[in-house]
């Protein structure tokens, strides 16, 4: 039966898709891949743990068919990827449910080392038992467990060097002054810098009055470093198994001179310690206890201030986005002659990145988390053979403390007021700010608490030789609380799952789950979601028995309805909790009170929602799993999903004659469809073991209904387009001269001049305005194609492994300040823009003419700023040497030893070039790194 299937498959070393019988997909009994009817992809530790990443999320780029892992931020402490399973599917939230050992948890603290498998649940059948939360797919992180009658200790150390790739290049001060004068002249204004001043910038002889500072190079050092230490103990006795891990990660950032102060460092730092203990205790032959505990301490430091009142880090002064992407090299000197920090009235000293990274002390964040869960499994064969029950309880708690130890400083500059014979004659001194002591504000800014209980009753029995039945009834309860208002959730979920097998060839699964949540309106708290899935193992049929090259072949199909408790989102993307209640609020005043006093008023709020349904998904999936030639594993899935009853604002449905804010209605419909594919090939040729594989996902979607308002022109209609489609104007070049402007349709955004972007009159009304916007490019949120491939070889313990990952049909809007949109609000200008700007002599330019202010005509989303964001990255490359066993046996202590060198994200092939396609905004650039490591097992 199942062991036979496994036996026939076990010849394939490293076969990814089928040797996963231990991976739990949420049922009390683990299923083998052969009998599974749902669409699941399983990623194993030896496959993903190759990036020396700070946590499991950052290890998953390109892993798993159907999973999209998108990188964003380059700051070590904040770098967390975004996940989508099979792309975007709804106007509301698209985030998949992320679980650790079956419980919804943050994964930013989970190290890659402690994870055994990452299980991606994709279709309706796979997510059915997760109730309301599973609608966008599920990622379950399964941690390692002990093994009976073994004992192993593993120690590893990794040291990495990171560097910031594709740092922006800004112009020097002489070029900046020329550019500003040119921009002002273009706008018909007087120059800011006189010829004397331009000369001073050019000669560089007056560095305190006319400085030239390369702020990026002065602030940022070349290299950052990371140390990762892991110690793990894994083993067990006859009735007891354990896995324990101690892990320490330490990263020191890029601040060039962090040790200028006595007693503290102002480096960007991240450190985290994890302690995990997973125990399995066989209390009796029929009673088993599972206990998992993770404790995690994290500390980050950053130079300067952080806000201790908010959890949102976006408001903090970020050295890159607030300073390095703003400050021109001509702004002010780093320090004046007397040692005061530089700063003036246009560019405050608080923008001085060197002052802020050395003289403003530091801020700290501590995060303390504990994740604990316990499961008791009781075999109830004494009642009837095959019956069992289990109970699980878990408690998680996370708190984040922020401490602001920053201080302020005096800054100033000398400003030349008059010139005589080409030398400054008189100056005035500008001074602002004051020296303060280091602050001591501290506060808990984030607090999360989750409590889960579940109980399962299951029945697992071979009815006779041909028929096998497994059925489970599971009840879940969840309470989840965060700091803040309207952040307490209670959910119940009861699911009945039945798995039926006929002769190990035909399988049928039926799930019915009833879910409830306190987030929904009274009367709509409960919803029932049924799912049916089937599988047929063709390779087990008699007519396939003699086939030599098909080792395994299975067809799968599933269909189901999954409900969710998604809430309506207001125009700011915040959830609206009381959508079903008619509320009143305060309105403005009118002078009707006695003595002409103002009288307050009350007004009807947003109208209550007339419909109280749930956003639901009708998910259909067909798939093939195959294993061929004893070496090739393939899994191919095609899916179609209709998401309906999505909450949308109905303002497009009613005329403005309604006079009130329109209600939310369950009217949105989005269709999504696509293909995901995974292949893995393993072959041994002589002494060489070859392994190669690929994943591919093509995910399309279309908005079918969103209650869009009636549009004047067909190009403005967004229904029937994909979700998050980019809209903008179509640029058709630059205006050559005034005659060209006069002969073209009038552009109403602002007064256009030669060198401004010329747009296509899409709606043919002979004027260019916002009615000429149309769909351009693809989405900037998620690509439609996501793929990866890897290649590895091993010869007597010496080997290499490389993993490439890419995207396609993905767009970027290059609107980064200074880099692509320069000089607005006294920002600087990149060398790239300066070299490729339009001038009367350079008509064939890449970018429009310089302008000194935000130019409404040029600086808006259009095809000129639209870039193809598709890329191919070398995600990891590893060269390793495993010391030969014969040598290690002589030591009698060391069991295995591996030395390795890794390169992370070393190559990127793309079209953006001047910035990373995944991180082109004004933030920390993405890093690349080289890591050397050693792992020793005892």
């Amino acid at each position: 039966m199942i062991p036979m299937v496994l036996a026939c498959l076990s010849v394939q070393v490293g076969a990814q898709e089928y040797n996963d019988s231990l991976a739990t997909t949420g049922y009390a009994k683990t299923q083998s891949a052969a009998e599974r009817t749902s669409s699941v992809s399983i990623i194993k530790n030896e496959d993903f743990n190759k990036r020396s990443a700070k946590n499991i999320g950052n290890s998953l780029f390109g892993q798993g068919a159907g999973l999209m892992t998108l990188q964003g931020n380059g700051q070590y402490s904040n770098a967390e990827p975004t996940f989508y399973i099979r792309g975007l599917k709804t106007m509301s939230k698209n985030n998949p449910l992320i679980l650790v050992d079956g419980i919804e948890r943050d994964i930013d603290k989970i190290t890659s080392e402690e994870v055994e498998n990452v299980i991606v649940l994709k279709d309706a059948a796979a997510v059915a038992i997760y109730g309301y939360k599973g609608i966008n797919g599920v990622i379950n992180i399964e941690t390692k467990r002990g093994k009976y009658r073994t004992k192993e200790v593993n120690v590893s150390y990794e040291h990495g060097f990171e560097w910031q790739a594709r740092k922006p290049q800004f112009v020097n001060s002489a070029t900046y002054a020329t550019a500003v004068n040119e921009a002002l002249a273009n706008d018909g204004m007087l120059p800011r810098y006189s010829q004397d001043e331009l000369n001073a910038f050019n000669s560089g002889t007056l560095p305190y009055l006319y400085p030239n500072v390369n702020w990026v190079d002065e602030t940022m050092g070349e290299l950052a470093s990371t140390n990762i230490y892991n110690v793990s103990f894994r083993g067990g006795a006859d009735k007891f198994r354990y896995y324990a891990l101690g892990s320490l990660i330490n990263n020191k950032g890029f601040i060039g001179s962090p040790n200028e102060n006595e007693g503290y460092s102002t480096q960007d730092q991240y450190s985290k310690a994890n302690l995990r203990m997973n125990l399995d205790i066989d209390l009796t032959n029929n009673t088993k206890l599972k206990l998992n505990i993770l404790g995690s301490l994290m500390e980050t430091r950053s130079p300067g201030a952080i806000d201790t009142n908010i959890d949102d880090t976006s408001g903090d002064l970020n050295i890159w986005s607030s300073m390095l992407y703003v400050l021109p090299s001509a702004a002010f000197p780093i320090k004046l002659e007397d040692g005061t920090w530089g700063g003036n009235s246009t560019w405050k000293g608080t923008l001085n990145p060197i002052a802020m990274s050395q003289g403003a002390a530091y801020s700290k964040q501590h995060e303390r988390s504990v994740f604990a869960d316990m499961t008791l499994i009781q075999n109830l064969s004494s009642i009837t053979p095959g019956l069992g029950a289990s109970v699980m309880i878990s408690y998680d708690n996370t708190a984040l403390f922020r401490e602001n130890h920053s201080k302020t400083f005096v800054y100033g500059s000398d400003i030349v007021t008059s010139w005589e014979n080409g030398v400054p004659a008189t100056t005035t001194h500008f001074s602002e700010g004051k020296d303060s002591d280091m602050g001591s504000a501290a506060k808990v800014t984030t607090y999360k608490k989750a409590f889960n209980v579940s109980g399962t009753l299951y029945y697992d029995k071979a009815l006779n030789e041909d028929h096998h039945l497994y059925s489970q009834l599971k009840w879940d309860y969840e309470s989840r609380k965060f700091i803040g208002l309207n952040t307490t959730y209670y959910r119940y979920n009861t699911s009945l799952y039945t798995h039926y097998g006929y002769k190990d060839k035909m399988f049928a699964d039926l799930s019915i789950s009833a879910s409830a949540s306190n987030r929904m309106a009274p009367g709509s708290k409960w919803a029932i979601s049924p799912t049916l899935s089937l599988a047929w193992v063709i390779s087990k049929e008699d007519f396939m028995k003699d086939n030599e090259w098909i080792n395994f072949l299975k067809l799968r199909a599933s269909a189901g309805v999954i409900n969710s408790d998604q809430l309506p989102l207001d125009s700011n993307g915040n959830e609206v909790y009381n959508y079903f209640e008619q509320t009143y609020g305060g309105g403005s005043t009118y002078p009707l009170a006695p003595n002409d006093g103002l009288l307050g008023s009350y007004v009807l709020g947003r109208l209550a929602s007339p419909s109280l349904r749930h956003e639901k998904a009708y998910k259909y999936n067909i798939g093939v799993d195959a294993s061929l030639f004893n070496s090739l594993d393939i899994t191919l899935d095609g899916y179609y999903e209709r998401r309906s009853d999505i909450w949308v604002d109905s303002k497009g449905k009613y005329s403005s004659i309604l006079g009130f804010d329109t209600p939310f209605e369950n009217a949105g419909i989005v269709d999504s469809w696509g293909v995901d594919f995974g292949a893995n090939y393993t072959k041994k040729i002589g002494e060489v073991k070859l392994n190669t594989g690929a994943n591919f996902l093509f995910a399309k979607n279309k908005i079918v209904e969103q209650l869009e308002e009636a549009r004047l022109y067909s190009n403005l209609v967004t229904t029937n387009d994909p979700l998050k489609q980019t809209y903008g104007l179509q640029a058709i070049g630059f205006f050559k001269d005034q005659a060209d402007i006069d002969n073209s349709p009038k552009q109403l955004f602002s007064d256009v001049k030669a060198g401004d972007i010329k747009y296509k009159d899409v709606n043919k009304d002979n004027v260019i305005d916002s009615n000429d916007k149309t769909a351009i490019g693809y989405s900037t949120t998620a690509p439609e194609i996501y793929y990866s491939f890897h290649l590895g070889a091993d010869w007597k313990g010496l080997g290499f492994d490389a993993m490439f990952q890419g995207t396609g049909r993905y767009s970027a809007v290059l609107n980064t300040k200074s880099l692509f949109w320069p000089l607005i609000n006294n920002t600087t200008i990149s060398q790239e823009y300066f070299d490729n700007r339009w001038t009367p002599e350079n008509q064939d330019a890449k970018y429009p003419r310089l302008s000194s202010q935000s130019n409404d005509n040029n600086y808006q989303t259009n095809t000129l700023w639209l870039a193809d964001r598709s890329f191919l990255k070398l995600r990891s490359v590893e060269v390793y040497y495993k010391l030969p066993q014969c040598l290690l046996q002589k030591t009698k202590v060391v069991r295995n030893a591996k030395l390795y060198v890794r390169g992370i994200d070393l190559l990127c092939f793309d079209n953006v070039k001047v910035a990373d396609p995944e991180c082109y905004g004004a933030g920390y650039p993405l890093t690349r790194s080289v890591v050397a490591g050693v792992s020793i097992g005892f």
Binding site: V391, I393, N578, E581, S588
Partner: protein, 120 residues
């Protein structure tokens, strides 16, 4: 067996505690119709809101200019003021100002809809 019983007992206890109904738990309070009917002041306020939709015309609708400035007798001193749009040719369907535009309809809409939504 003893530890077994303690663990099972503990689970049973926790299950019985957590099984209470939390589905009606909420942290928001909404000012509903009953709230509005409680005091005379709130009912007055509801009616008064109709008047807030009118142009009060103390220079607060047209960047400081009063509607009087739109007639021939009183020119507004700043030629760029939006009240001058009435007379300088900028008054158009896309710049409806208030007299014929949606704002003028607001009081009527408001009265109609308040009546429609609150009648039994």
């Amino acid at each position: 067996m003893k530890i077994n019983k303690i663990v099972i007992g503990g689970f049973t206890l926790l299950l019985s505690i957590s099984a209470c109904d939390n589905l009606n738990y909420k942290e928001y309070t909404s000012q509903n119709e009953d709230y509005m009917k409680v005091t005379y002041e709130r009912v007055t306020g509801l009616l008064n809101n109709v008047y807030t939709k009118l142009d009060t015309d103390f220079g607060n609708n047209y960047s400081g200019g009063m509607l009087a400035s739109a007639c021939d007798e009183a020119d507004y001193a700043y030629a760029n003021n939006s009240v001058c749009d009435f007379t300088n040719g900028n008054w158009s369907p896309t710049n409806a100002l208030s007299v014929l535009g949606p704002t003028a309809m607001k009081p009527f809409k408001y009265v109609m809809n308040t009546w429609l939504t609150t009648r039994d």
